[in-house]
């Protein structure tokens, strides 16, 4: 088999991430960050960038509620990690998380 057609783990990860998150997901994430920088991840409440680190996103974007009480959401993209203060988004994510605590994966239409 031609080596150039072989499989390497990085391309495999990249490919699988693309399947998992999808180009639309990445684009949506990038757009969300842009919105956040312009004034709000959740739209209603201004997001405040707290700890900027690395460079531009190239991989799947992941986010988690960093501190629900303080309304902080951390977004990981590429080697960047940015924590935003967005109480409205944090509240909605926590609400979504506590809606179903039975385990497993579900897709719930909005």
């Amino acid at each position: 088999m031609d080596e150039r057609k072989g499989v390497d783990r990085r391309s495999f990860i990249k490919t699988s991430a693309g399947v998992a998150a999808g180009a639309a997901g990445i684009a949506a994430g990038a757009a969300a960050i842009t919105r956040a920088e312009q004034g709000g991840l959740g739209g209603a409440v201004t997001s405040e960038m707290l700890e900027p680190t690395g460079s531009a996103p190239k991989e799947p974007i992941m986010a988690y509620v960093h501190d629900a009480r303080r309304g902080e959401v951390t977004v990981l993209a590429g080697t960047s990690e940015t924590t935003y203060r967005d109480p409205d988004l944090a509240k909605r994510l926590v609400s979504a998380a506590t809606r179903r605590l039975t385990g497993g994966s579900d897709v719930i239409a909005p």
Partner: protein, 475 residues
């Protein structure tokens, strides 16, 4: 062990487990320093069909602090990737591997080397420090030294890797600026009697004196037939010192560099199912190593994982474990009546602080210093103005009147276990308190091992080719 499986979390992650670091003036190129950092410890040579390799999801770094502030001004960063020729076979190789581009070699590994410069190169792609320090946007300069550099295969056996030394030598790459680099499997150079060490700190040559005694015996070298993965880089000294020259004055502050290494993983890994993974976020350090045995023997169990996540500049909080090492208290208990003076030594161990955390200031050992200043930081400190000792070097390094060896950096054959045992037992305390008389046993402690010559070679990368899986273990 030196730092093999030394902390609970990293013991589950061999690809990122930093097992040994070496730093020495190259004996055959004394205008250069050789830095070696080892990972994937305790490899059983026949361990296939998925043989050992570096993590393509791990960022490996070797750090150099050349101004004594505890932070690295230079680092060399290594990224690995795998290439599989044919994913439809389970085989590592489909025939003899005669060269690094052999079509019979199915799963190969390549890497890049980047030099990073700045005020604190730990910030290269990393997350905010776990200690809560403000993470300022780093001002770093990067220079890609090489990419697509081939690793050698693992040493499988005479049918698969029939001329292994040639394969290994082909994987020594020359980079711009007079740099050499190698990354791949080697025989582990670190020798230790694991079986006795972890059996209540037994030392077989002295076990007749142990609290639970048995007849004295020779040491057992537990790692002599095991392999490891080494990253070795040989760099002109002038590229590492703060004033960019090769110093000749041993007493010059510019003559000492601090060296350590680390491994980092992405902050988030998501298992997507169907064998798929996604990773994201900055690099987060999961392993580091400067002085051998520091995290293993000095740092308590409950702090080892956190220690691995921190950088040497944060080591002040661990100084108390150096000042009052647990092992110094255990020796008089485990070897009754052998260490009465050590049992009475309650003062903070300034000698160990110097050896492990600051370097030894001038005026302590005649004609020697490797002091980097008052910032306590676990680093190997190498005085690069001290020439290599090419004739009859002492495996006991500075304790054996050989200033070219540990704790002046660390050579591949230095008996770091005996050196540190002797130091902790009080043999070096008179350096800071001349009124103290070490116990007679302190300067004689040993595991009874000498390094087998076939573990090393006289030229870069100095660690010998790996043991092959066909012949080891022998029937």
């Amino acid at each position: 062990m030196s730092s093999h499986r030394e902390a609970p979390e990293i013991s589950k992650d061999p690809a990122a487990d930093n097992a040994d670091v070496y730093a020495f003036v190259s004996p055959d190129r004394p205008d250069t320093v050789t830095l070696i950092t080892n990972f994937v410890p305790l490899q059983d040579p026949p361990g296939g069909p998925n043989f050992f390799e570096f993590g393509d999801d791990v960022l490996y770094s070797i750090y150099i602090d050349n101004d004594g502030d505890g932070k690295p001004e230079i680092s060399y960063v290594f990224n690995f990737s795998n290439r599989v020729r044919d994913p439809n076979t389970f085989l590592y190789n489909t025939g003899p591997i005669g060269s690094l581009n052999s079509p019979k070699w199915n799963r190969r590994q390549f890497y890049s080397v980047t030099r990073v410069e700045g005020d604190d190169t730990t910030k290269y792609g990393t997350a905010p420090a776990a200690n809560g320090h403000k993470h300022h946007k780093p001002k770093l300069k990067t220079h890609l030294l090489g990419r697509g550099l081939a690793c050698p295969p693992c040493n499988i056996g005479p049918r698969s890797t029939p001329n292994y030394p040639a394969l290994g030598q082909a994987a020594v790459h020359s980079l711009p600026g007079g740099i050499k680099v190698f990354a791949g499997q080697r025989t582990d150079g670190f020798y230790v009697d694991l079986g006795s060490t972890f059996d209540l700190a037994d030392l077989r040559p002295f076990q007749n004196l142990h609290l639970i005694p048995s007849a004295a015996a020779a040491g057992v070298d537990a790692t002599k037939m095991l392999n490891i993965h080494s990253i070795a880089i040989q760099i002109p000294i002038s590229q590492l010192t703060s004033n960019h020259v090769k110093p000749t004055d041993v007493m010059s502050k510019h003559a000492v560099i601090g060296v350590w290494s680390g491994a980092s993983r992405r902050k988030v890994r998501m298992i997507n199912g169907s064998g798929e993974l996604s990773e994201s976020g900055p690099w987060v350090q999961v392993s580091r190593l400067g002085n051998p045995l520091f995290n293993e023997v000095v740092v308590p169990m409950g702090h080892k994982d956190r220690w691995n996540s921190l950088y040497p500049v944060d080591d002040k909080q661990f100084a108390k474990y150096v000042q009052h090492p647990e092992l110094a208290g255990l020796l008089p208990v485990l070897y009754p009546k052998v260490f009465p003076n050590l049992a009475g030594l309650k003062a903070a161990r300034a000698d160990l602080e110097a050896i492990l955390l600051t370097g030894i200031p001038k005026g302590i050992v005649p004609g020697f210093q490797n002091f980097t200043g008052s910032v306590p930081a676990d680093q190997l400190r190498l005085n690069v103005a001290i020439p290599p000792k090419t004739s009859n070097p002492s495996i006991y390094g500075l304790l054996g009147n050989d200033a070219a060896g540990f704790p002046n950096g660390r050579r591949v054959f230095d008996d770091v276990v005996s050196i540190e045992l002797r130091a902790i037992a009080g043999a070096t305390y008179p350096l800071v308190n001349k009124s103290y008389t070490p116990d007679a046993a302190a300067g004689k402690l040993t595991e009874g091992l000498t390094p087998a010559a076939n573990r090393y070679q006289g030229t870069f990368p100095y660690l010998a080719p790996p043991q092959d899986g066909f012949d080891v273990p022998a029937s």
